[in-house]
């Protein structure tokens, strides 16, 4: 008994003293842990958003081009000007269409990945979805410009299939059509869809993975045909993922200013308007007011989604 060694905890360094202190004061530990991210989020992130909000209530003096630092709603009146309202409507419509199309395309892919893909196939799925995100955004968009151009590969391919008439009839549709896909809204929409699709697939896949298979079996057992099971069981349970994905696709489309500049008719989107007003025009208040629009739309969207019970299953 006398030569047995007792391994007593060593309490020499200040590091272990600090660690002991944290163990005894879990609230203090939590406070220290959260301090840096809260400072970042609170001051740099939300602070700059708040300053943006404040900027939108200032106005610009037309003669001097200087910003008048006093409260006014003049900038917002300017925002409601038909030319500016056009930009808002155009952007929001595009965002809605891109989001719906992304949801329709993403659902089967996400469902396959969640229910059937195992092992190698699962890895292949993640690689396939993520791979486009690893290459440069600009390169992808310019590549799409070449694909969609009048002399591009898509036109050539359709010509080989003797389907040029089909493309031409699609392009002859007023407003969304144009000279070629690369200068039409259809083209803009296609590229948006391509770029944001992973942001829809991944949250949707995560939410579908959490739907137990036996719920689908239970529905089928109780008489539900596939489409009824989809409508009454799968879709409501996938809603949180669908909402999460649509927040990405919707808000990313609302804010983007590069895709509509490179591909599409040269009409402005919100992002481009912000870019031009805060740049050459120096109209920071109007740029700020434009930036507020997506925030309000997203807040409204989330409020609606919550009211519809989209988050009840969370």
């Amino acid at each position: 008994m006398t030569d047995s060694v007792i391994y007593a905890p060593q309490r020499s360094s200040s590091v272990s003293a600090f660690s002991d202190y944290c163990w005894r004061n879990p609230r203090m530990f939590l406070f220290l842990l959260l301090l840096p991210p809260v400072l970042w989020l609170g001051i740099i992130y939300l602070g700059s958003l708040f300053s943006l909000l404040v900027q939108s209530f200032f106005s610009i003096d037309e003669f001097t081009g200087l910003i008048k630092h006093e409260f006014t709603l003049k900038t917002y009146r300017e925002l409601l000007h038909p030319a500016n309202l056009d930009i808002v409507v155009r952007t929001v419509s595009m965002a809605i269409i891109v989001t719906i199309a992304a949801a329709i395309i993403a659902f089967p892919i996400a469902y396959f990945a969640a229910r059937y893909a195992r092992g190698k196939w699962k890895a292949f799925f993640y690689l396939g979805v993520m791979l486009p995100l690893w290459s440069s955004y600009l390169v992808k968009i310019y590549a799409w410009k070449l694909i969609l151009a009048k002399e591009g590969i898509l036109n050539w391919f359709l010509a080989e299939l003797h389907l040029t008439w089909l493309l031409e009839s699609v392009l002859s549709i007023p407003i969304i059509g144009g000279n070629s896909l690369s200068v039409s809204y259809i083209g803009t929409c296609l590229v948006f869809l391509y770029v944001w699709l992973p942001f829809m697939i991944l949250p949707l896949q995560a939410s579908l993975e959490r739907v137990p298979v036996n719920l689908l079996e239970a529905s089928s057992d109780l008489g539900g045909k596939s489409q009824q099971t989809f409508r009454h069981v799968l879709l409501p349970l996938a809603m949180p993922g669908l909402i999460a994905g649509s927040i990405f696709t919707f808000s990313l489309t609302l804010g983007d200013y590069i895709i509509p500049q490179i591909i599409g008719s040269s009409r402005l989107f919100i992002g481009q308007a912000v870019y031009s007003h805060q740049g050459i025009a120096g109209n920071i208040p109007l740029a700020a007011a434009f930036s507020i629009v997506p925030i309000i739309i997203m807040a409204f969207y989330l409020w609606m989604a919550k009211r519809q019970g989209a988050f009840d299953v969370l």
């Binding site: 137990p212 036996n214 719920l215 079996e217 239970a218 529905s219 089928s220 057992d221 109780l222 008489g223 539900g224 045909k225 009824q228 009454h232 069981v233 409501p236 349970l237 019970g309 009840d312 299953v313």
Partner: protein, 329 residues
């Protein structure tokens, strides 16, 4: 008697694994039928074959005389109570129970009325507005039963429905399910690995092992006349001894099953045995004793004088109680 479910040479293979292997089965209408077996014995796969979630690799299944292969679950007159209940988390209890009726396009008033009636049958009236997450395990189990019977199926399948409940609740639910089956008069097919549950509830039991049915019979048949060592050991516990040792002199090399409660403690005219160990189980006490090199388990009433470890006692049994086992398993 109408046959509700019939299997003939049904097999279900997953690659090399024979989950269900040449099963023949016929279940009568209005019967409380238990499928009993250890996990992985194929009993749940059989249930899923009846429900339509699985298709047989070969063989033929009939439900009320109609071929079941290729018929999707939603067209079968069969409903399932799932092992972990599978209640829809985004619906309240009334909507859950009325789900099958909603699918069939029955008006909201009528299906709420029917759902409420089904909830009454499982003693849960008034719980309709709650969510599944707000109920206890036992209550969820009742909702799962109510949801299945609200559809008025001709066959109700229950997949280990009481597995997740504690002992007291399980015993209570056993009685209630038995009563419910009598009231409804429909076929109940019940999957369980708990032999006590099968013995107390079922009209007939099929004992499964390795994808095959080992024995089918009434609980009394299964318990008193097990045909194989597997059944003798799986259903209750048993002493497997040589026939001549048990007192059946004519069969020399065959084995017999001798139930622990068949062995009695006697004052005279018995075999001499030594008590190796005891386990007190409340009303009864299990003794492990040794008699001429053979270890035996026996059960005696605790209120009689309990022998001590190492004590010499006299034991005896009626050779009639020993049941011959066939050699195959």
């Amino acid at each position: 008697m109408t046959i509700s479910v019939a299997f003939s040479k049904v097999c279900r293979y997953y690659g090399d694994i024979k989950a269900v292997d040449k099963v023949d089965l016929s279940i009568e209408e209005g019967e409380f039928f238990a499928m009993l077996g250890p996990s992985g014995s194929g009993k749940t796969t059989c249930l899923r074959l009846i429900a339509g979630f699985e298709q047989p690799t070969s063989g033929h299944i009939e439900i009320f005389g109609e071929t079941a292969e290729g018929v999707p679950p939603y067209q079968r007159d069969v409903n399932t109570v799932f092992q972990d209940y599978a209640l829809f988390p985004h619906m309240n209890i009334l909507e859950n129970v009325g789900f099958g009726l909603m699918i069939r396009g029955i008006s909201k008033n009528e299906r709420d009325h029917e759902a409420e009636k089904a909830l009454q049958m499982v003693q849960l009236s008034g719980y309709g507005a709650r969510r599944p997450s707000e109920l206890s395990g036992g209550q969820r189990q009742r909702v799962a039963v109510a949801r299945a019977i609200a559809n008025k199926p001709r066959v109700l399948l229950l997949d280990e429905p009481l597995g997740a409940l504690d002992l007291k609740l399980r015993e209570q639910m056993q009685d209630e399910l038995k009563e419910l089956q009598k009231t409804l008069g429909i076929t109940f097919i019940f999957v369980t690995h708990d032999q006590g549950e099968a013995l107390s509830m079922a009209d007939r039991i099929a004992v499964f092992n390795n994808g095959k049915i080992i024995q089918v019979g009434t609980p009394k048949d299964i318990y008193q006349r097990p045909e194989s060592e597997f059944v003798a050991n799986f259903v209750g516990s048993s002493n497997i001894v040589a026939a001549d040792y048990a007192g059946l002199s004519e069969q020399k090399d065959t084995l017999v099953s001798l139930r622990p409660e068949s062995i009695k403690l006697v004052d005279s005219n018995g075999r001499e045995a030594i008590v190796i160990s005891r386990s007190y189980m409340g009303g009864s006490t299990r003794l492990n004793v040794e008699n001429s090199g053979v270890r035996l388990n026996m059960v005696i009433q605790s209120n009689t004088g309990l022998p001590q470890d190492g004590e010499k006692i006299l034991i005896s049994w009626d050779p009639e109680q020993a049941h011959l086992l066939s050699n195959d398993q």
